[in-house]
């Protein structure tokens, strides 16, 4: 097993430069990441499927086009040959899509998601499909039917969720880029707890066609990376209008890479959201957050305080709207059209009973909880009090954002109230698990874009802290501008990227725990989830 450290630790932008200069081939780059996956994913479990053959074939195609030169070589996308991982909620031809659920085990989509088509058009080799909480329902990846993903900073801790696989893959240098989906924080919170970057674009800014829907009015596909610039590069590949998604915004995409390259925040107003820090936030999170504010201030930004008084209702309203939409969206898993079919053990063999048995066996606890909760919130007699009220809260949250953005260009908060907790710690307390998303949910409720970037390590546990930036709808460019500046100021202090401080996953093999002896690595269904 060889590992090319320089290649796997390079940013996507740096790899693109090396490929264009023909210092390295796309096959070498892709193989280096496949080798890394083989070396460490037995411990991390970020991947549910590794797409070796197709990824190498796409890389070889890019190399051949480059070697031949001419117009075809010049027309290659800047990220051609830069490999990427895809969250297993996004459908792909040629690879299974499970959504982290038993009900879709082994299922192959007959079509590609629009974002996947765009990766293919850019000739980015797809390394494989990443682990997630079942149907993206969770904040820890522990609700995956295929075992939890482990945080590369501490393998006993959660990598966040639902997109823990994508974040961990990027943090463990198994991929320079990944796709995630964010319904209440599933890109940003994993980014925060793994020391990586994640962006939830404006609702409708990236097509959702081919993302298996959880809550259609909240779901959003977005980039996962190690640097702000890399997220901007990926956002430009996947963003823009798609006629296949009726909620896709017709607006032309802004130049996000240019925004990430502006390099100053002088005169910008940055608003601290009073309700999203302080009480309930871990001391180390608060400290790193305050340091980021100081750096932005020194760089010439004006820090103002804004109040969003209705954010206190956001979590409650989210846990009515999201399950309501999820219960409708998941009705299609009926044991007829795709996936699992389980027959009842006895009694009449009607379609209704087959459906009941299939869904009982195919769905995990968290999915069942949310379907029941959503069915409850939508039922006659409760609709107005629950779903109706929650939709009104949505209006109040939008008004809070409008008022805040009248005073500030960008808002800032910690991404999550705590650093990564231990696997199993909150598994039997759904409400405690839901509280992880308190700072990320408001953006989904209002449709505004958000970005999480590493803010440093908490003093008390040495684990990564995330800083969240929020911008008005359609102003994603502001996130990249401020994010890139803050990132460079922080890295100047740290003397390099935060991930340089993460433990090596390959050193001291004698200290490996028993799970790493599992040589089947990617796709291995670890069975210890939920044992606490």
């Amino acid at each position: 097993m060889t590992e090319n450290n320089e290649l796997i630790r390079s940013s996507a932008a740096a790899l693109a430069g090396k490929l264009a200069a023909r210092e390295v081939t796309a096959v070498e780059v892709t193989q280096a990441h496949l080798d890394r996956i083989a070396a460490v994913d037995g411990k991390v479990n970020a991947f549910l499927h590794v797409n070796t053959e197709e990824a190498l074939a796409v890389a070889a195609e890019v190399d051949a086009i480059r070697a031949a030169g001419g117009a075809a070589a010049e027309e290659l996308h800047a990220l051609a040959g830069v490999p990427i991982a895809v969250k297993d909620l996004i459908v792909t031809v040629g690879q299974p899509t499970t959504a982290g659920s038993k009900i879709l085990e082994g299922w192959h989509s007959p079509y590609d998601a629009t974002v996947v088509q765009r990766l293919r058009a850019a000739k980015m080799p797809i390394l494989g499909k990443t682990n997630l909480d079942e149907f993206a329902m969770g904040s820890s990846t522990e609700h995956s039917a295929y075992g939890p993903t482990h945080n590369p900073w501490d393998l006993d801790r959660i990598p966040g969720g639902s997109g823990g696989g994508s974040a961990a893959a990027v943090a463990a240098f198994e991929a320079p880029l990944a796709l995630g989906t964010d319904t209440g924080g599933s890109i940003r919170q994993p980014g925060a707890v793994t020391g990586t970057v994640g962006v939830k674009p404006t609702y409708g800014g990236v097509s959702r066609y081919g993302a298996i829907a959880m809550a259609s009015s909240l779901d959003q596909i977005g980039p996962v990376s190690r640097t702000v610039l890399d997220s901007a590069l990926l956002h430009q590949v996947i963003g823009g209008h798609d006629p296949h998604d009726s909620t896709s915004l017709p607006d032309p995409l802004e130049d996000l890479v240019a925004a990430a390259s502006i390099g100053n925040v002088r005169g910008m107003k940055i608003g601290i959201i009073k309700e999203l820090h302080g009480e309930g936030y871990q001391a180390g999170v608060e400290n790193r957050f305050n340091e980021s504010l100081e750096l932005l201030k020194e760089a010439g930004a004006e820090i103002v305080e804004v109040s969003c008084p209705n954010f206190k209702y956001a979590l409650g309203a989210y846990y009515l709207i999201m399950p309501s939409e999820a219960s409708s969206n998941l009705a299609k898993f009926d044991g007829v059209r795709f996936g699992l079919r389980v027959l009842p053990e006895d009694g009449p063999m009607t379609i209704e009973r087959v459906m009941g048995a299939t869904r009982a066996a195919g769905f995990g606890d968290e999915v069942k909880r949310r379907i029941i909760l959503g069915t409850y919130a939508l039922s006659a007699g409760y609709y107005d009090a629950y779903y109706g009220s929650a939709q009104k809260v949505r209006t109040l949250i939008q008004r809070d954002f409008d008022a805040a953005f009248a005073k500030a260009d960008v808002l800032i908060s910690p991404t999550a109230p705590t650093t990564a907790f231990k696997l199993g710690e909150k598994l039997n307390d759904p409400l405690a698990m839901y509280l992880n998303d308190v700072a990320t949910i408001p953006a989904n409720m209002a449709g505004v874009p958000g970005l999480s970037l590493p803010g440093g390590l908490a003093d008390e546990d040495g684990l990564p802290v995330g800083v969240q930036l929020l911008a008005p709808a359609r102003q994603d460019a502001r996130l990249y501008r401020v994010g890139a500046v803050l990132e460079s100021l922080l890295e100047a202090q740290w003397g390099g990227p935060l991930l340089d401080k993460a433990p090596s996953l390959t050193a001291a093999p004698s200290l490996n725990d028993s799970s790493s002896a599992d040589s089947s690595s990617a796709g291995a269904a670890l069975s210890h989830g939920g044992s606490h």
Binding site: Y203, G356, R359, A390, V393
Partner: protein, 98 residues
């Protein structure tokens, strides 16, 4: 708002087509009671004058040209089905006829 109890959960599970064991119903009822209690405040947050928002960025009249686009073959559409027969989804009995 009324609390959620075990009978409610059993009824909802039937509506949602999820078979549940007695043990599962007990556990689910306990967990959901806590969750429902914590989201109660939502009903008091907004007055009657606040309009509901169903989509964060509403778009209206999203149409496409009325032409045939990409379609799946029957084989593709049936490729993930647990059972199929002569180009159709095959299901168990619709009615309970013993």
């Amino acid at each position: 708002m009324a609390a959620i109890n075990r009978d409610d959960v059993a009824h909802l599970a039937r509506l949602a087509h999820i078979e549940m064991s007695a043990e599962e119903l007990d556990r689910m009822a306990g967990e959901l009671a806590v969750i429902v209690d914590s989201v109660k405040s939502v009903s008091e947050a907004a007055g009657d004058d606040v309009p509901a928002t169903s989509h964060p960025i509403p778009l209206t009249n999203v149409f496409r040209e009325d032409v045939v686009g990409h379609t799946f073959t029957a084989e593709q559409a049936l490729s993930g089905a647990p059972d199929a027969y002569e180009g159709r989804f095959k299901v168990p009995a619709i009615l309970d006829e013993g």
